[in-house]
Structure formats: C-alpha cells, structure tokens
C-alpha cells in the first residue's frame, strides 16, 4: 500500500471542506464528487500546498501534478514547459503530436495556445516528469473535445502505469473512460 490518508480534516473559516477523510491509494484511482466537496483541497494537501487541520497523509512520493489551472510558463512552448519540469524534450514533442499538436502549434509559446492545448501540455508535463512516483491530476480533461479527451485518457493510462495516481473529476463519463477504480468523496 503506497499512500495512506487517515482522518483528514480541513476547514476554510466556517466552511468544513474535509471531515475525517480516509483513503488508501495503491496504483491508479479516480476520485469523484460534487463541486466544492474538497477534491482539490485533498490534492493540495497531498502536494504540500495546504496544511490539514487534523489527520495524516503518508507515502506520497515525489509529486507531478495537473492543477486546476494550467500553470504553464507563458513564454515557453508546450515542450519547453515539459522540459522545464525535467521531461525529455524529444519525448515531449512526440507525445504532444500524439495529442493533436501540429508543427506550428509546437512552436508557439504557451500564452498563444488554446485552453485545450494548454491543458494537454500541462497533462503531459505531469505524465513525463521523471522520478515522480505520485501523479495528482485535477480535472485533466477540462477544455478538451471528446476525441482528444479519449486520446488523453489513453496517454494517462499508458504513462501513469506503475505510479500512484489520483485523477480527480466530477464527470462520471471520464471515470468510466479510464477503467480505473473509482472512489467518491462526499
């Protein structure tokens, strides 16, 4: 068992977001739940960006993440952003082409890419990050058309193999597409 979450509590002011949340993660997992139920907060705690009010998270390895927003360096190309996080530039270009990038789009800085293109670049940055034992993917298919989302899902299944992965979504169809175990956060 790789990641063990026990009794996790987090509140923002009067709003209790997580209340005694517990979960074991060993391999890939889809985490679903309605908006505002604490999915993103859980990921931020696992990334070390938030501190839990109570409870514990153990076994999180080096993290690579897709955040709620893309968080790409706007002046770098999609492959440049992937390389910045340690990914191999040649592999990055190959995977980006696989997710629909043309030569012209590969040459554009991230600031000039569409929302869907930025999302795919952010996803590949996480998937191609070397040495990352834990992948935390927050709504990675946002802004993608159905066909591209299916290709992205296939890339996730292939590239996340062997790593503890939490993919957060509020979309049940996405969960089904991956064929991964699903856990709900309520």
């Amino acid at each position: 068992m790789s990641i063990r979450i026990r009794g996790l509590c987090k509140a923002f002011g009067a709003k209790q977001v997580l209340r005694g949340f517990a979960l074991d993660i060993d391999g890939p997992l889809v985490l679903t739940g309605p908006s505002g139920c604490g999915k993103t907060t859980l990921l931020r705690i696992m990334m070390g960006l938030e501190t839990a009010d109570a409870g514990s998270v153990a076994g999180v390895g080096r993290v690579a993440a897709v955040f709620q927003t893309d968080r790409l360096c706007p002046q770098l190309t999609a492959a440049g952003n992937i390389a910045l996080a340690g990914g191999d530039a040649a592999a990055a270009e190959k995977e980006l082409r696989g997710l629909g990038f043309t030569d012209a789009e590969l040459a554009l800085p991230a600031a000039r890419l569409s929302g869907g293109q930025r999302r795919r670049a952010a996803l590949l940055r996480a998937l191609l990050c070397p040495g990352a034992g834990t992948l935390l993917l927050d709504e990675p298919f946002t802004g993608m058309e159905a066909e591209l989302a299916a290709r992205a899902a296939a890339a996730i299944v292939r590239l996340a193999a062997g790593r503890d992965t939490v993919l957060v979504t509020h979309d049940a169809a996405t969960a089904a597409r991956l064929g991964w175990p699903v856990s709900a956060i309520l």
Partner: protein, 259 residues
C-alpha cells in the same frame, strides 16, 4: 496604408507641434531683443552649440558627467535589486530600509547636494546624487515586480521541485522584469537631471554643470541654452538606448507575453 505612410502620418502632427513651438521661441526672442542676452533665439542657440561641438573641452565635460552619472546609476541598480530581493525575503530588511528610502525620495536634490559636499569631493558628487535618486525608484520597481510574480507558477515550481536557478530564470525574473524595466526607464531620466543639478551646485571641474554655471556667470546666455540643449539631447539618447535595451531584454526573458 503602408507602414511608412502610417509612420509619416503619425509623425506629422508631432513635427508640426515642434515647429510651432520653435516659431514661438523665435518670436519671443525677437520680442525680448537685447541680442539674445536674456532669451537667445533658436538660431543663436544652434550656433553656440555648433561652436561647442568641435571642441575637446565640450566632449571632455560630457564624458566626465556621463561617466559619473552612469556609475551612480549602475551602483543604484545593483543596490536596488539586491535590497529589493532582500526586502522580499526578509521583512526586517523591508522595515529597516523604509525610512532612509523615504527620506531619499522626499529630500530636495539641493539639500542633499549641500550635505554631500561636506562628506565627498565635488568631483564625485554626481555619482552620489545619481545613486540616491535612482536607488528608491529601482527598489520600488523590484519590490513591485516580485509582488507581481505569478503565485500559481511559484506553487507549480514548488510541487515539481524545480531547481532554484530554473525558477529564477523562467518564473521569477520574467515575472518581475516588466515592473523593474519600467522603474529603470523612469530612473534613467531622473538620474541625468539630478546629476547635472548637483554639478551646478557643487561645480566640479570639467563637468557639464560647471560649464553651465560659468556660461551663466559670463552672461553667455546662448551657451547656457546650448549646454541645456546638449543635456536634453543626451538625456533623450540615453532614454532611447535604455528603452531599446530593456525591450530587447524583456522580449528575451518574457517572450511574446510582455514584448
């Protein structure tokens, strides 16, 4: 419409405005009279400048003043960057730096020059004055730039454990550079004006300020105007060079986003 035609169209109103004010100046000089003693005409000013330009003394003075003001500017930029970065990191530095920087911003150049003359030789006055005028501006620019840096990108860098130098090169510097560049642009104009003002009070040998003052003493008013014209032209040249350099640096560091 071609680019050239568009540029001409934009330049024409500015050229017309310049010509209008030259005509006003010429008419005012003619109205005042006294052979240009009180108000030399544009022609007299250009003639005086033409007489100064071929002399070695003119260029020696320009070189003397330029070197010192730019030295003060460079020291202030280095100091402002170091102090701004330290202030962003340590609150104690920010608190400690605030009073002297506020004083430097508020203090009239003349007061500071008179005090500085007690401590340094007049030859180095423009270095000190340029430094003290530029430092608070650059410091404020660096602080604003650091505050402007994208927090979400910094979080990304933290999660991905990006090395410090990569974070600096690809996130912190591009984030802070636009505000820093703006401060340099403002400071460049300020240091030139304040540096020459200091020289007019301190009268270091072989300075532009000294020449300006001597011309006034001998009632060589066209020379006063000629030196002033030279100062304005140099200021404009330096500002244009700074703008050009900063735009190129910004394009390189920040890409198309800030270009």
């Amino acid at each position: 419409m071609s680019d050239l035609a568009q540029k001409l169209k934009n330049a024409l109103p500015r050229a017309a405005a310049g010509l209008f004010w030259l005509a006003v100046w010429q008419l005012a000089a003619m109205a005042v009279g006294h052979g240009g003693l009180l108000l030399p005409s544009p022609v007299q000013t250009v003639a005086a400048l033409s007489a100064l330009l071929p002399t070695g003394a003119f260029w020696r003075r320009i070189g003397f003043t330029l070197a010192r003001i730019l030295l003060g500017f460079a020291l202030a930029v280095a100091g402002g960057v170091a102090l701004g970065a330290a202030s962003a990191r340590w609150r104690a530095v920010r608190v400690l730096a605030a009073p002297p920087l506020a004083l430097a911003r508020a203090m009239p150049v003349a007061s500071f020059v008179i005090l500085a003359l007690l401590w340094v030789r007049s030859a180095n006055l423009s270095v000190i004055v340029s430094f003290t005028q530029v430092l608070p501006v650059v410091y404020a620019g660096v602080c604003a730039g650091i505050a402007d840096t994208d927090k979400e990108l910094l979080e990304m860098a933290r999660v991905y454990r990006l090395p410090v130098l990569r974070t600096l090169r690809y996130i912190r510097v591009p984030g802070a550079f636009p505000a820093f560049a703006e401060s340099l642009s403002v400071a460049m104009g300020m240091c030139w004006k304040s540096g020459v003002s200091a020289e007019v009070i301190g009268l270091p040998d072989w300075s532009v300020g000294d020449a300006l003052y001597r011309a006034k003493l001998t009632l060589a008013t066209p020379d006063v105007f000629a030196w002033t014209l030279a100062i304005v032209a140099l200021s404009a040249l330096l500002s244009a060079l700074a703008r050009h350099g900063l735009t190129a640096a910004q394009k390189r560091l920040c890409g198309e986003v800030a270009a």
